[in-house]
């Protein structure tokens, strides 16, 4: 009402303010959602991590007590050691689907069949995958029976400290590489076929086509898969651990998310579990940040 009474010049300025307000109105739903479901829980979790809350009591403020306890907790250290081992296997998680996707893209016979077969496990839930591999990997399971036929000694794949984590990672790789493969195939489909054809006409061998044409062009996709896979293995292996090893033997397959669940559910210590979650969050944010930095640096190439 008052704005209409204002002189022309003032009105234009208020008009732009109204526009800004209008824009805010459009932003509001998104901002409210992010605040309610992302930022507030994060801050709440951080607040919880500074208390000694149990499942039944609110808990006292203990400052960084939980974080100090973590430093001396052998189970936390074991979970971190397992995380490092897991991160060291990252090249396999990226290279395997990339090589297979390239081969399918280059037109190996039956490529379409391979594509479907590789992707198939990605639609199974981790509990189902775990149950399947429980049958395969248990001591009296299918794999050891196969080894027996070949005259080789049986191995307690899931119950021995030296093989449990690698068995678990292999199962997770089997279950999820189909998704990465699909991402690589999508990336490859944007690759100009003339380039590959030109390289071939110039007499390039398969590995040369791969190394000099496909690999450089696929760089952004590789980085994307690396980021997504890292986050995936650090946050999505709970189901498999739960079904296959329950974190054991000892702490051989205890990853941070499983430890968080143990402390929250079994030990009834949400405060300590929240502190562990904060560390896992910081770890993931750090890894993602490094990877995005590499990505943006390469974007300038």
């Amino acid at each position: 009402m008052t704005t209409t009474a204002q002189p022309q010049r003032r009105r234009r300025r208020t008009g732009s303010r109204a526009e800004r307000r209008f824009a805010l109105l459009f932003l509001l739903p998104a901002v409210a959602l992010v605040l309610t479901f992302r930022i507030v829980p994060l801050l709440w979790g951080f607040g919880l991590s500074l208390t000694d809350a149990t499942g039944l009591q609110q808990g006292q403020f203990i400052g960084l007590g939980n974080y100090a306890e973590m430093a001396g907790d052998p189970n936390f250290r074991a979970a971190m050691r397992n995380t490092v081992i897991l991160l060291l296997t990252l090249p396999v998680w990226v290279l395997l689907p990339m090589i297979l996707a390239s081969l399918i893209h280059l037109g190996v016979p039956g490529g379409r069949l391979y594509r479907s077969v590789y992707f198939f496990p990605a639609v199974l839930s981790s509990v189902i995958v775990g149950s399947i591999f429980n049958v395969v990997l248990r001591y009296d399971g299918a794999l050891n029976a196969l080894l027996g036929f070949a005259g080789l000694p049986a191995i307690d794949w899931l119950g021995s400290g030296s093989t449990a984590l690698l068995s678990l990672l292999t199962v997770q790789l089997w279950a999820t590489f189909g998704m990465s493969l699909l991402i690589f195939l999508a990336g490859l489909s944007t690759l100009s076929s003339e380039m590959i054809e030109a390289a071939r006409l110039d007499g390039a061998r398969l590995w040369q086509v791969w190394g000099y044409v496909i690999l450089p062009a696929m760089r952004p996709i590789i980085e994307f898969v690396a980021v997504v896979t890292t986050i995936g293995v650090l946050t999505n292996m709970f189901g498999l651990i739960y079904v296959l090893t329950a974190g054991g033997p000892g702490t051989a397959t205890t990853l941070p998310e499983f430890l968080i669940w143990l402390e929250q559910g079994q030990m009834g210590r949400p405060g300590y579990a929240a502190a562990l979650s904060m560390v896992l969050f910081a770890l993931m944010a750090g890894i993602a940040w490094i990877q995005i930095r590499i990505m943006s640096r390469n974007a300038g190439l």
């Binding site: 039944l56 054991g248 559910g265």
Partner: protein, 411 residues
Amino acid sequence: MTFKALLIATTACLGGQAMAQTLTIWDWKSGDPVAASYFDAVREAFAAAHPGVTLNFVNQPIDQYYTLLGTALASGQGPDVFLLNGGAQARARMDALTDLTPQAEGLVGLTEFQDADGAVRALPISIQGFVVYYNKDRYSEAGLDPEAPPQTWAELASACEAINAAGAVPCFALGNKEGYGAEFFLSSVGASMLSEQAQQQFATGDLTWSSPEIAAILQAWVDTQGMGWYQPGANSTAKFMDEYEMFMRGDAANTIGLLSDVAHWKQFEDFLGAESIGAFRHPAPEMIADHAMIPVAGGIGYGVNAAGGNVDLATALVETLASAGPIQVFVNDAGVVPANTAVDTSGLASPTAGTILGWLDSSGVTMAHANVTAEELAEWHRQSQLLLNGETTVEAAAARMDDVQKAAHGG
């Protein structure tokens, strides 16, 4: 306005009334087919005394039960009545439960459900404990007398040697994937090796894991593996039910089983036949009495959520759940050992059940693992697996257990 207010008031009243007439009960038993007749008897008895009340039994998965319960209680969404294991699990949740001491008359096995002041916080329905069940056919095949099971550690060791020599099956079925096998072993061997005073001190944290008494149990755990008592791959075998299925298939000569609920004489007899099953008390290397003891505890019991909407009605329901009438049905149909002393057990035809019931008075002692803290149990799960794999030593494992014990008791 008046109409609106009236409408709101009516809705509130109706809503409140509807809430009051439904009791939600959480457990992991009500979906069990063998317990169905017991729950029918409970519904019938409760409906007679409190007509119009709906009982909503929610059968939760046992392996996630305490996680779900903890989350529900913490958010104020807990059920009116819930089932608990006696000992550490019950003690960890006593703050959430009402005092049921006046309702506990005539019940035994109450210790595991009492708080620090002696108030009973849940009413046990069964007695729980461990004995060794053995397959008489496997004993005969190994040249052992099936009617004279081992009474001492030396006899058990030589029986296992004979069974191993026969080569058909391992001496014991063992499932230690979640560490439960080691829990059962600790309590079974501890029952015969620890005095009541030592048990008390172990529970309060005054007797450490590296003390000679407890370290001897850890050593026995390692020794049994060294003597080849167990099948390979025990650390990747689930106790419930892979271990017991192995025993019920006849693929092992012995197993440490329960007295009530599952993996007990009735279930084994149903599978292998009553004539093939026997039980003995787990011997230990150095026994304090002239015979082995069995660890006994108040098995499982229902408690009332103090924050629930209708505590009085819930208390009446828990009383019904523990009362002699329905429990008698439970004993007859599911073969549990009852906590209610008014229940008649003379009708149980099984000779094994008779043997076990006879031990309750003379040989029943504290169940060691049920009295240690949840933190110690979780760490014992881990250390027991490492010990079984030979990936740690008894000294190192005991030292780690000491740290956890000290921290758990606020040291």
